[in-house]
């Protein structure tokens, strides 16, 4: 019953999206103006119905209703509650339904709340949103129906991939999807603005909170995904430039450029064409990413739902949406008049450099990810991985960071570098001092090979950290607006993350040993003793659990329990690493296999400052959140003030 209700709601939502598109488009014409009043309510209804469909799917998963094909292939009655819930989106159909639901709910929200735009721009935006939704509704209903029933329900489900039965990964997809699909709002705003030639501060102000929100979720989602890979995959790696990872990074790069660009447009009325272009590119990257991971054309550890037929469907949607938007851009961008002028040395120009560098990195990541596909078309296979992306990305990332240190200190419109030399001197000297210190006291960075990027990274990170708080110096901190705090915290987060990345690459030590029970080993400043290995059972797994005593620099010992786990349904072996976090780094311990002579394979790492990578990521997200709250509060205050003024004018009869 629930499955049928869900499917019916989905169909109705799809029909309403079609109605929203038609009425929205017609309302822009002179004859159809009367239809304008329907569009907003239709958008709200569409959102509610789609939300209801998603709730139905959740209910089916929670009850483990095995008569529904999706639950039978992806769930299991013994799974813990939280993973039954997370199983809803841990598969292709469910995650596509999540995608469409977030789009619909976001559209409903703007329809309810957004009042600052010109009415025709608003209608065009809602029509654009509906236009994109329809394709995905069609994809769901025609090719990936989540509510499909089985004629004969099986006695038990296939179970959820054990790698996904983890709290971090349970919530990684929804955060990422809120991010990807939140960018669809920016896309729709851009379409609306292009269609009605209304690219100005109002458009940027309306779009900005959405982009900030989406970007914030993407940041958290990527950070969480990286941390999950770090502790779950058992080798201490946290980013591999894998195609699926890149698919999540590319929208983030575009969205980062977009937040900066739309801020400039909102406050200084400049960078109009850039902002519209980035809004189109950001969501295009979301869609391209969705396509790449589901089509099976790229080899990846993470790839799911490998199905070329579905891939073709999404590719067709991409051609219509991205192709259409880019054609619209090429035709209409000419009508976007030049915004306000600014000098070579100014905050605007620093942001232009930022845009260009981020776009370049986006281009490199896209090229590197697709390159193996290109060579395969010619019959050859190549692999493009970290040894390419790291240095080539750095070519653009390092200048961008240098500009990031200086930009927030510059005035808008016109400035002289001479004015801020005093302020930049401090971070610059710090960078020099750190690099010199490393050169003198850290020979391991130079032999057997020069670790150039970690070396530069550590120096830059320290300098950046100081430079990012410089805008606060000399200000009354309590009266500093929240968006400024947001900028400071986010930039500081980048510095912190960079520091973690650089120190881990430079100074992590690894120890692989075959240990007997009772033996001790050293890794870095730690001394680890293997006390015991015994079998342990969990709700849907059995494992071998090691008990180790770890002591730092001869201090008191802490006990840790790495496990080698066996899941039965589906049969998989995972390694649950044991992590011990200190202020200056993490001990990472993994239990391997038993050798014939009774010795246990142990993998031990001491990774200095590695948690900074993810603390930095969270800081970046926090910065985004502060900015978002600041902007929304300011917008609400402004609209309330405008209402009061309009009220007063009415009462005075003007």
């Amino acid at each position: 019953m629930i499955a049928e209700i869900g499917l019916a709601c989905l169909w109705m939502a799809g029909a309403l999206a079609l109605l929203q598109l038609v009425t929205g488009a017609l309302a822009l014409t002179s004859k159809g103006v009367g239809l304008a009043g329907i569009v907003r309510p239709v958008a709200v209804a569409q959102g509610l119905l789609c939300g209801l469909a998603f709730v139905c799917l959740i209910a089916l998963f929670l009850r483990t209703d095995l008569s529904v094909k999706l639950i039978a292939t992806n769930s299991h009655s013994l799974k813990p509650f939280i993973y039954k819930l997370a199983g809803t989106w841990g598969n292709h159909e469910g995650s596509m339904l999540l995608w469409v639901t977030v789009m619909a709910l976001a559209g409903a929200f703007i329809a309810l709340v957004e009042r600052r735009l010109r009415n025709d721009t608003m209608l065009a935006t809602l029509a654009g949103q509906a236009f994109v939704s329809i394709g995905f509704y069609a994809f769901l209903l025609l090719s990936s129906n989540p509510f499909e029933r089985l004629a004969v329900p099986p006695p038990e489900g296939n179970g959820l991939n054990p790698l996904l039965q983890d709290i971090g990964l349970a919530f990684h997809p929804p955060t990422l999807y809120l991010g990807y699909v939140g960018l669809s709002i920016a896309f729709s705003f851009a379409i609306g603005a292009l269609v009605t030639s209304d690219v100005g501060p109002a458009f940027a102000r309306a779009m900005r909170p959405w982009v900030l929100g989406a970007w914030l979720f993407l940041t958290i989602g990527i950070t969480a995904g990286s941390y999950w890979a770090y502790y779950e995959l058992g080798w201490g790696g946290w980013w591999f430039w894998d195609p699926v990872e890149n698919a999540s990074l590319m929208p983030w790069l575009a969205a980062t450029a977009l937040i900066h660009s739309s801020s400039v447009l909102a406050t200084r009325n400049a960078l109009r064409a850039w902002t519209v272009m980035l809004a189109v590119v950001a969501f295009s990257m979301s869609m391209i990413g969705t396509f790449l991971v589901r089509s099976g054309i790229l080899t990846s550890v993470h790839a799911f739902a490998v199905d070329p037929e579905r891939g073709s469907f999404i590719l067709a949607l991409l051609a219509i949406y991205i192709g259409g938007a880019l054609v619209l851009f090429a035709i209409r961008a000419r009508t976007i008049t030049e915004g306000a002028r600014f000098a070579l040395t100014s905050r605007e120009s620093a942001l232009v450099v930022n845009n260009v560098m981020l776009s370049a990195i986006l281009g490199i990541v896209l090229l590197g990810t697709l390159y193996p596909l290109l060579t395969e078309a010619f019959g050859e296979k190549v692999s493009v991985g970290p040894p390419y992306f790291d240095p080539v990305g750095a070519i653009f990332f390092i200048p961008m960071l240098l500009v990031m240190a200086v930009g927030p200190l510059l005035h808008w419109r016109n400035d002289r570098l001479g004015r801020i030399t005093g302020k930049i001197a401090i971070p610059a000297l710090l960078i020099g001092a750190v690099l010199l210190g490393l050169a003198l006291f850290a020979p391991s960075l130079f032999t057997p090979s020069f670790k150039l990027l970690p070396f530069i990274g550590m120096g830059l990170a320290v300098g950046l950290a100081v430079a990012s708080v410089m805008p606060l110096i000399g200000r009354n901190l309590r009266r500093t607006p929240l968006p400024t705090w947001g900028m400071v915290v986010a930039h500081l987060g980048i510095a912190v993350s960079l520091f973690g990345v650089a120190t881990d690459s430079a100074f992590a030590t690894e120890k692989l040993v075959a240990s007997r029970i009772g033996e001790s080993h050293t890794v870095g400043p730690w001394s680890i003793t293997l006390k015991n290995v015994e079998p342990v059972a969990g709700p849907n797994w059995t494992s071998l659990e090691a008990t180790m005593a770890a002591s730092y620099d001869g201090g008191t010992a802490t006990t840790i329990h790495p496990q080698a786990r066996n899941y039965t349904s589906p049969p998989t072996v995972t390694s649950e690493s044991a992590l011990l976090t200190r202020w200056n780094g993490q001990l990472y311990a993994v239990l391997g296999e038993e050798a014939d002579d009774g010795r246990w394979q142990l993998r031990l790492w001491w990774k200095p400052f590695v948690p900074m990578i993810w603390y930095g990521g969270l800081l970046i997200g926090l910065g985004g959140l502060l900015s978002l709250i600041g902007r929304v509060a300011r917008d609400m205050k402004r609209s309330r003030a405008e209402e009061k003024i309009a009220d007063r004018r009415e009462r005075q009869g003007r």
């Binding site: 272009m277 391209i288 054309i297 851009f329 090429a330 961008a333 000419r334 002028r341 896209l366 078309a377």
Partner: protein
């Protein structure tokens, strides 16, 4: 304020993103329509076999060495393992080839003697020689990346052809053809 330069040049830049997308679309279409296989082919086709000398994998057959493989007669070199399930599927084809007079030498990857014996008892033994490659060293040196794979080696010890995966009935004529070419 001076006039902005004519938008004509700017106009061309505006079409660049669409052009990039068009390129992406074409590339991805070819990827979808002609999906590349996931196999990694050996790059040693046409090159001579590296020098190796593997100990016998089972008591009943001698081991495999490069000198013996370059004795003037083309033959098949079959890379297999007892733990490899598709190897069971290709056993009948190997038998058929052996009955047709084709010489087949085998390399057993990461296998214990008793397991290889068990495998041969269950699936037949078409091999003249079987070498034990416990560390996949020889497998790597000829560019083989999995089991089962079959190589056509000519009389001078040069690798002439690689067949990846189990040999199906329809693959047998091609292998015989390649052996004939290797003999010329």
């Amino acid at each position: 304020m001076s006039e902005a330069p004519a938008p004509r040049r700017a106009g061309l830049w505006l079409w660049v993103p669409l052009a990039v997308f068009a390129g992406f679309f074409v590339l991805v279409m070819t990827g979808l329509l002609a999906p590349a296989d996931r196999e990694v082919a050996s790059a040693m086709i046409g090159k001579p076999l590296p020098q190796f000398d593997l100990r016998p994998a089972v008591p009943g057959r001698p081991g495999v060495s490069t000198a013996q493989l370059a004795d003037g007669k083309p033959r098949l070199l079959n890379v297999f393992a007892s733990w490899c399930i598709p190897c069971i599927a290709e056993a009948p084809q190997l038998e058929a080839l052996a009955r047709q007079g084709v010489e087949i030498d085998g390399i057993a990857i990461r296998d214990r003697t008793q397991d290889v014996e068990r495998f041969l008892d269950a699936n037949g033994n078409p091999y003249q020689r079987i070498g034990a490659d416990d560390l996949s060293q020889v497998q790597m040196s000829i560019g083989s990346s999995g089991v089962p794979e079959t190589f056509v080696i000519d009389g001078k010890g040069i690798i002439r052809h690689q067949h990846i995966g189990d040999i199906r009935a329809e693959d047998v004529p091609k292998l015989i053809e390649k052996l004939r070419e290797a003999g010329q």
